[in-house]
C-alpha cells in the first residue's frame, strides 16, 4: 500500500508537471505583419458550413490584401502585410472554440481575431471578444435580440438581417401578389430543429400573422432528418400557395428534391440556408429557376462579379449568394478601418469601424453605427442560373420577381 501511495504521488506530480510544461509559451511579436488568427470548425458537424461560407472568404481576403502589398498603416507609414499566424480547429465543439479564442487573444496576442462559424458559436464567443476588446465581425450569426446583445457586448457587430427582417422581406413579396389576388393567404411552413430554424419560424410566423396570412401547416423537423417526404406531401395537400422552409443546406437540397419528385409546385417555393449556394444552381440547373431563398446578392455592384471570379480562382470555391460576399465585405471593412484609423490599436480601430462608415464594399455601402447592418438583402431568387436579391424592393440593384415559380 505504501508503495502504491508513493507511486500515486509521483504520478500526480508528474501529471502536474506535464500540464505546466505542456502549456504553450507565446511567440514573440512580429512587427512586420498584421497578425490575424481564427478558430473555426475544420472537422466535425460544423465543418461543411464553415468550409462553404466562411473559410474561402478568409483565404481570399488574406490573398487579396497581400497581393496589394498589405494594409497601409499610417502609424508606421508603410504597407504591412497580413499574416494568419494562428488557424485553429475548434472540432465543432463550443467549449474548445471558447478556449481557442482565449488562446488567440491572451497567448498568441494576435492583432485581430476573425469570428467562428454559426450563430450559436458566435453568440457564445461574443463575451470573450468583448472582454478582450477584439472587434467581433460576426457575419454568420443572427438573432431576434440583436439590439440588446450589441449593447451588452460593445465589440459585437451583426451583418445579416434579423430573422424578423427576413420575414418582412419575404412578406413584402408575398403581399404584392396576395393583394392583387394572384396568391392565396395560406402558408405551409416547416423549420429545422435548431437555433436558426426556431428563430426564423418565430420571426416569420409573427410577421405573417400580422399581415393576415393563415399558416395552415407549421412543423419542425430534427436536424439530420433522413426523410422529409411526409412534410412535402402535407404541404401539397394543405392548399397553400406559399411554401416556406427555414432549412439548413442538407434539408434545403432534400426538400427541393422531394418537391420535384412529388410534383409539388407552389407559386412561391422558399427554402433558407443553402438555396444561395452555387451547388444549388449546379444541381437543380433549370429547375432552380424561380426558387426563393434567404439572403440575396447584387452581382451588379462594383467589384461583385470580380470578387466572384477571384474567389473561384483563388480558393476553388464559388461563393454563395448570401453570407459569402458579406463575409468578404466584413473583412473589407476591417481593412479600411485599419487604414482609416492609421493604427493597429484595437480600440481605435473599433471606434473607426463604428463611426467611420459608411464603408464601400462588394456588398454595397455598409454603415455600422448601430453595430447592426439594417438594410440588407432579405430574400433572393434563382433567376437564369444566378441567385439575385429581390427584396426589400428598395435595395439598389433589386431584380424584378418571377411569379409564379415555373413548374419544375
Amino acid at each position: 500500500m505504501h508503495t502504491q501511495w508513493r507511486r500515486a504521488m509521483a504520478a500526480a506530480a508528474l501529471a502536474a508537471f506535464g500540464t505546466l510544461a505542456a502549456l504553450p509559451v507565446h511567440a514573440a511579436d512580429a512587427p512586420n505583419s498584421i497578425r490575424i488568427g481564427y478558430a473555426i470548425s475544420l472537422s466535425g458537424v460544423n465543418a461543411q458550413g464553415a468550409a462553404t461560407t466562411t473559410l474561402p472568404g478568409y483565404d481570399l481576403w488574406v490573398h487579396d490584401v497581400n497581393a496589394q502589398g498589405g494594409i497601409f498603416v499610417k502609424e508606421f507609414n508603410k504597407k504591412i502585410p497580413v499574416e494568419v499566424v494562428a488557424k485553429y480547429d475548434d472540432t465543432s465543439s463550443a467549449e474548445t472554440m471558447l478556449r481557442l479564442e482565449e488562446k488567440l487573444m491572451t497567448e498568441d496576442k494576435v492583432d485581430f481575431v476573425l469570428p467562428p462559424w454559426s450563430t450559436g458559436f458566435n453568440l457564445a464567443a461574443a463575451p470573450i471578444f468583448a472582454k478582450y476588446g477584439y472587434p467581433d465581425l460576426a457575419v454568420t450569426a443572427n438573432a431576434n435580440d440583436e439590439e440588446q446583445l450589441v449593447k451588452q457586448f460593445p465589440t459585437l457587430f451583426f451583418f445579416l438581417n434579423q430573422p424578423i427582417h427576413f420575414g418582412q422581406a419575404l412578406i413584402e413579396v408575398l403581399n404584392k401578389y396576395k393583394n392583387s389576388g394572384q396568391l392565396n393567404n395560406k402558408i405551409a411552413m416547416v423549420s429545422v430543429g435548431d437555433q436558426f430554424g426556431a428563430e426564423m419560424s418565430a420571426g416569420f410566423g409573427a410577421g405573417l400573422k400580422a399581415s393576415g396570412y393563415d399558416i395552415v401547416l407549421q412543423k419542425s423537423y430534427p436536424l439530420g432528418a433522413a426523410d422529409l417526404t411526409n412534410e412535402i406531401k402535407e404541404a401539397k395537400a394543405s392548399g397553400a400557395d406559399t411554401f416556406i422552409a427555414a432549412s439548413y443546406p442538407p434539408d434545403t437540397f432534400m426538400l427541393t428534391g422531394t418537391a420535384i419528385t412529388q410534383g409539388y409546385n407552389p407559386k412561391i417555393f422558399y427554402t433558407a440556408v443553402g438555396t444561395a449556394f452555387a451547388e444549388y444552381g449546379a444541381n437543380f440547373k433549370k429547375k432552380a429557376q424561380g426558387v426563393m431563398g434567404i439572403g440575396g446578392w447584387n452581382p451588379a455592384l462594383p467589384g461583385a462579379m470580380d470578387y466572384y471570379k477571384r474567389q473561384l480562382a483563388v480558393t476553388g470555391h464559388a461563393p454563395d449568394g448570401w453570407a459569402s460576399p458579406v463575409t468578404y465585405a466584413s473583412l473589407q471593412i476591417l481593412q479600411q478601418a485599419i487604414e482609416k484609423a492609421g493604427t493597429l490599436d484595437r480600440k481605435k480601430v473599433l471606434d473607426t469601424i463604428v463611426n467611420g462608415g459608411p464603408w464601400q464594399t462588394i456588398s454595397g455601402p455598409i454603415d455600422l453605427k448601430t453595430h447592426i447592418v439594417e438594410h440588407q438583402w432579405g430574400a433572393g431568387q434563382w433567376q437564369n442560373g444566378q441567385f439575385v436579391g429581390v427584396s426589400p424592393t428598395d435595395m439598389p440593384g433589386v431584380k424584378p420577381f418571377i411569379f409564379p415559380k415555373p413548374s419544375w
Binding site: L23, S93, P127, E199
Partner: protein, 364 residues
C-alpha cells in the same frame, strides 16, 4: 502481532504523509488562477471538468463493467437546468436543483437498465442521451420559440475552476472511501459475477442504482458548473454526444486499475488534442485517430500500465511480510488498493499484484 503493530504504525505515517502531500497538491492547484493566463486557466478548467467526469464515470462503469455513454446526458442536464433556472433562482440554488434533477433521472434510468448488459447497455445509454437532446430541442422550438439561453452571471473562470477543483477532490475522496468500504467490495463482486453477488446477500439492484446515481450527480454538477463558462447554451452544446465518447476514451487510456489512473488519461489526451487542434488544424482528425490506434496496439494497458512497467523496470522490490499473517495482509493490501479491474478494456490485466512480471512475459 508485533510485526502487525509495526506495520500499522508505518501505514499510518504513510497515510498521513500521503494525505499531507495531497493537501499540498490541492493547495498548489488552487493557486493556479493567480499564476496563469486566462487561456491557461480555461485549459485547466477543461482538464478539471474532464477529470471529474472521468473519475465519476469510472465509479460506476469501472466497477460494474457497464460502459455508460450517458455522460453527456447528465452533463447536459446539469448545464441545461442551470440555463433554464438561472433567471428565477440564485446560482447555487440552481446548482442544487441540477443535482436533484440529475439524481432523479439517474434513478429512473438506473431502474430501467437493471436487466441490460454489455453492448445493450452501451447503446441504451447512448440512445437515452440522444432522446433527451431531441426532446429538449423540440421543447425549446415549440414552447419557447428560441433555442438559446444566456447564462450571464458573476461566476468567472476562476470561480468555475476553484469549484471544479473542489469537486475533483470530493469525487476522488468518494472513490477512495468507496474502495475501502462495504459498498466498494459489493460493487467488485457485482462487477465480476452478479449471481454470486446475490448469493452473498448483496442487494444487487439497489447497489447498482445507488452507484449510478452517485456517479450521475457528479456529472450533473460538472455540467452545472460549466454553464456559466458557456454563457450561451443550446441543447446541441449541452448534450454533445462527443463528451460521452471522450470520457470513455480518457478512462480507458488512463486505465481503470487505479483510482488516480484517469488523471493519466485526461491530461495527455487534452494536451494532445489541444496541440493537434492548434498546430495541425487540418490534420487533427487523422493524427488523433492514429494516436488512438497506436495506444491500442502498442500500449494496451493504458498510460497507467506503461507507468507501472517503467516503475517495475526501475527495479523496485515489493517486499511484503509473509508468515502466518502474510496471506491476510496481502489480501488486505489487495482490498485496500484501488480496484482490481476487469481486464477490461484498457488492456491485459496485471496477472498478479504481488508478482513482478517482466514485460517480456506478457501474453500477447
Amino acid at each position: 502481532m508485533a510485526a502487525s503493530a509495526e506495520d500499522r504504525r508505518r501505514r499510518r505515517t504513510r497515510t498521513a504523509a500521503a494525505i499531507g502531500a495531497l493537501v499540498a497538491l490541492v493547495a498548489v492547484l488552487a493557486t493556479v488562477p493567480l499564476l496563469t493566463s486566462d487561456y491557461q486557466l480555461s485549459f485547466m478548467v477543461n482538464v478539471m471538468s474532464y477529470l471529474v467526469l472521468t473519475i465519476a464515470w469510472a465509479l460506476f462503469s469501472g466497477t460494474t463493467r457497464l460502459v455508460s455513454l450517458a455522460t453527456s446526458a447528465f452533463f447536459g442536464i446539469g448545464m441545461y437546468t442551470v440555463a433554464m433556472s438561472i433567471k428565477i433562482l440564485p446560482l447555487y440554488a440552481s446548482f442544487a436543483l441540477a443535482i436533484v434533477v440529475g439524481a432523479a433521472v439517474a434513478l429512473v434510468v438506473g431502474v430501467l437498465t437493471l436487466r441490460l448488459s454489455g453492448m445493450f447497455f452501451v447503446i441504451f445509454s447512448f440512445g437515452l442521451s440522444e432522446m433527451i437532446r431531441e426532446l429538449m430541442v423540440w421543447w425549446e422550438i415549440n414552447q419557447t420559440h428560441t433555442m438559446g439561453r444566456y447564462v450571464y452571471v458573476p461566476f468567472d473562470t476562476t470561480m468555475i475552476y476553484e469549484h471544479l477543483l473542489g469537486l475533483a477532490v470530493v469525487v476522488f475522496l468518494v472513490g477512495w472511501l468507496l474502495r475501502r468500504s462495504r459498498l466498494g467490495i459489493a460493487l467488485l463482486v457485482i462487477g465480476e459475477d452478479e449471481t454470486v453477488a446475490r448469493q452473498v446477500g448483496i442487494n444487487v439492484p439497489f447497489t447498482k442504482v445507488a452507484i449510478f446515481i452517485v456517479s450521475a450527480m457528479f456529472m450533473t454538477l460538472t455540467g452545472a458548473l460549466m454553464a456559466p463558462r458557456f454563457s450561451f447554451i443550446n441543447p446541441n452544446f449541452a448534450f454533445n454526444p462527443l463528451v460521452s465518447f471522450v470520457v470513455v476514451i480518457m478512462a480507458l487510456l488512463g486505465g481503470l486499475q487505479k483510482l488516480w489512473a484517469p488523471v493519466l488519461g485526461v491530461i495527455p489526451l487534452i494536451i494532445l488534442s489541444e496541440r493537434l487542434q492548434t498546430q495541425f488544424p487540418f490534420w487533427y482528425s487523422v493524427l488523433l485517430g492514429l494516436v488512438f490506434m497506436v495506444i491500442v496496439y502498442f500500449l494496451p494497458r493504458g498510460v497507467t500500465g506503461l507507468l507501472e512497467d517503467i516503475w517495475k523496470a526501475l527495479g523496485r522490490p515489493l517486499a511484503l511480510p509473509r508468515g502466518f499473517t502474510g496471506p491476510l495482509l496481502d489480501a488486505w493490501a489487495w482490498l485496500s488498493r484501488p480496484i482490481f479491474l476487469p481486464r477490461g478494456l484498457a488492456g491485459i490485466i496485471e496477472e498478479r499484484w504481488l508478482k513482478i512480471m517482466p514485460r517480456a512475459n506478457e501474453k500477447r
